[in-house]
């Protein structure tokens, strides 16, 4: 635990810095999470072709790795501070609390989706199935809702005791989970008789599944560039939003910035495609297009698949609820972390009881990047530009302000417009991340020209 909780408000000293090998090991187990069981099948359900998926994910993941390497790492290695402390120095402690609470609420939704994923597997032995009602806020079957409440209660109680033990368990399970995702793909191909070079080359196993979904759910499309943008920006909060400053501040060498490649290509390439193949196999075998992660894994791998889905959902939900609890604790002075983690867990469990919310994960991760990404633009401009154009960097630290209202304006105005575009105009959420980021990057120095007062050097 030592290095995880240390150096929260100071630069990482030289002796605590880590070489590239540590980062490759660190990222190998990241991004192969419970979300992958939901996101993979959603590509097929949205009508993506297999060629577009293979090439689009390849390009999108390359762009994501380049963003980590060239956007995050130089600032992380220069400042060696956490995202939160760096934001505090620029925007003030009050603004960081606001950022944290927004982050916490988004985490609750994500944890809710993971509770649904775990519950979908826990219900299998009891023949309790995950069904999606028509209304977004419609409940599933009463028995499924009971399972969600039980799973949510267990995950919340464990999270309230700290993330330590579950984080260790997640590290133990990570290498095995990657193999299980690959197993899902191989067995699914076998179930579809697509285990020969000719069948794989023809690709009928995929095209037939897409045709089935389109026939039943109506025509949809998920073209190449949409896949590229989604793969690039689904972790927008981590790279464009600079959340991974907290990780790369430990980097001794800039080449560590290539390490997310292993997480991306195992989790957001191999795991997504393999999870999508599970749904294609289910459609071929039982003409059922329901993306129920527990049932999908059960059909392919039996008990092992079911255990993997439970572990994947649980180990993803646990740190998420813990983090949300910390965010809520920061908002309520004098509150206990345990109590606030329980509050976060209750919110997440309620979200998890609505199965349709987890089915909207493609939109959610784009919205997540849209909301949190622009704060990364503020950090980027503060680091590279402010001094060069004659403005004060780390303004809140210099002035002692708890709210730098210029930062709030530069963050919230583009985010407000972005959310309007997503929810009112129906724009695909991942498309909005970069325009919002650029708008914040322009607004922050522009408005600062008028709002910054001269500070004695």
């Amino acid at each position: 635990m030592s290095q995880v909780n240390e150096y929260e408000r100071e630069p990482i000293p030289e002796h605590a810095q880590k070489g590239p090998k540590s980062f490759w090991g660190m990222y190998a187990g990241e991004h192969t999470a419970g979300t992958e069981f939901m996101i993979g099948p959603l590509f097929l359900a949205a009508g993506a072709s297999i060629q577009d998926l293979i090439l689009g994910l390849l390009l999108g993941n390359i762009l994501a790795v380049l963003t980590w390497r060239y956007l995050v790492v130089p600032i992380a290695m220069s400042k060696r501070l956490t995202l939160y402390y760096q934001l505090e120095r620029i925007a003030g402690s009050g603004a960081v609390k606001l950022y944290n609470i927004v982050n916490g609420l988004l985490f609750c939704f994500l944890a809710g989706a993971m509770i649904t994923v775990s519950a979908s597997a826990v219900g299998i032995p009891f023949n309790i199935m995950y069904t999606t009602p028509e209304a977004t806020f419609g409940l599933g079957a009463p028995s499924f809702t009971v399972i969600v409440l039980l799973v949510g209660a267990v995950i919340t109680i464990v999270a309230s005791r700290g993330y330590d033990q579950v984080a260790r368990f997640a590290n133990i399970a990570a290498p095995w989970m990657i193999i299980i995702f690959i197993a899902c793909g191989l067995v699914s191909l076998t179930q579809m008789n697509a285990n020969s070079v000719s069948a794989l080359a023809e690709g009928d196993f995929w095209a037939n599944a897409v045709a089935f979904v389109q026939e039943h759910n109506g025509a949809q499309s998920f073209p190449f560039w949409q896949i590229v943008v989604f793969a690039w920006l689904c972790n927008g909060a981590m790279h464009f939003g600079m959340a991974d400053l907290s990780i790369f501040r430990f980097a001794r060498s800039k080449s560590s910035g290539w390490a997310p490649a292993i997480g991306m290509f195992l989790g957001h390439y191999v795991a997504w495609i393999c999870a999508a193949l599970l749904l294609a196999a289910q459609i071929k075998l039982s003409q059922d297009a329901t993306a129920n992660p527990g049932a999908l894994a059960w059909n392919a791998l039996g008990w092992t698949g079911m255990v993997c889905v439970v572990i994947a959902g649980w180990t993803t939900a646990n740190p998420t609820i813990y983090r949300a609890g910390l965010a809520f604790q920061g908002m309520v002075p004098g509150s206990k972390r345990t109590t606030m983690t329980l509050v976060a867990g209750i919110v997440a469990t309620i979200a998890g009881a609505f199965p349709n919310l987890s089915g909207q994960l493609l939109g959610f991760v784009g919205t997540y990047g849209t909301v949190l990404g622009p704060m990364g633009a503020v950090i980027f401009v503060d680091f590279w530009l402010m001094k060069k154009i004659g403005l004060q960097d780390e303004y809140a630290t210099v002035t002692g302000a708890s709210f730098n209202f210029t930062v709030l304006f530069a963050w919230l105005l583009p985010v407000g417009v972005g959310l309007w575009l997503i929810f009112q105009q129906g724009i695909f959420a991942a498309y909005v991340v970069i325009p919002c980021w650029i708008a914040s990057a322009i607004l922050y120095p522009l408005v600062s020209q008028f709002t910054q007062k001269k500070v004695a050097a």
């Binding site: 330590d164 690959i182 990780i247 740190p319």
Partner: protein, 65 residues
């Protein structure tokens, strides 16, 4: 520690081998399910004492997508 590591790696090897043999039509899908259970049990028996003692990393506190 060495024996734990060995048990875990054997478990991981079995977990890898089962789906490959299934893909190659050497074993059936139901036989593979049994192979995977054996692999899973061996992995967690060996990996829990082996990897469970390792120090947590900075990324372990971060939220994954």
């Amino acid at each position: 520690m060495k024996i734990n590591k060995l048990i875990a790696l054997i478990g991981l090897f079995i977990t890898t081998l089962g789906p490959i043999l299934t893909f190659a039509n050497v074993i059936s899908i139901s036989q593979n399910k049994l192979v995977l259970i054996i692999g899973m049990v061996l992995w967690f028996i060996g990996a829990t004492p082996w990897l469970g003692r390792e120090e947590l990393k900075p990324s372990d506190t971060e939220v994954e997508i």
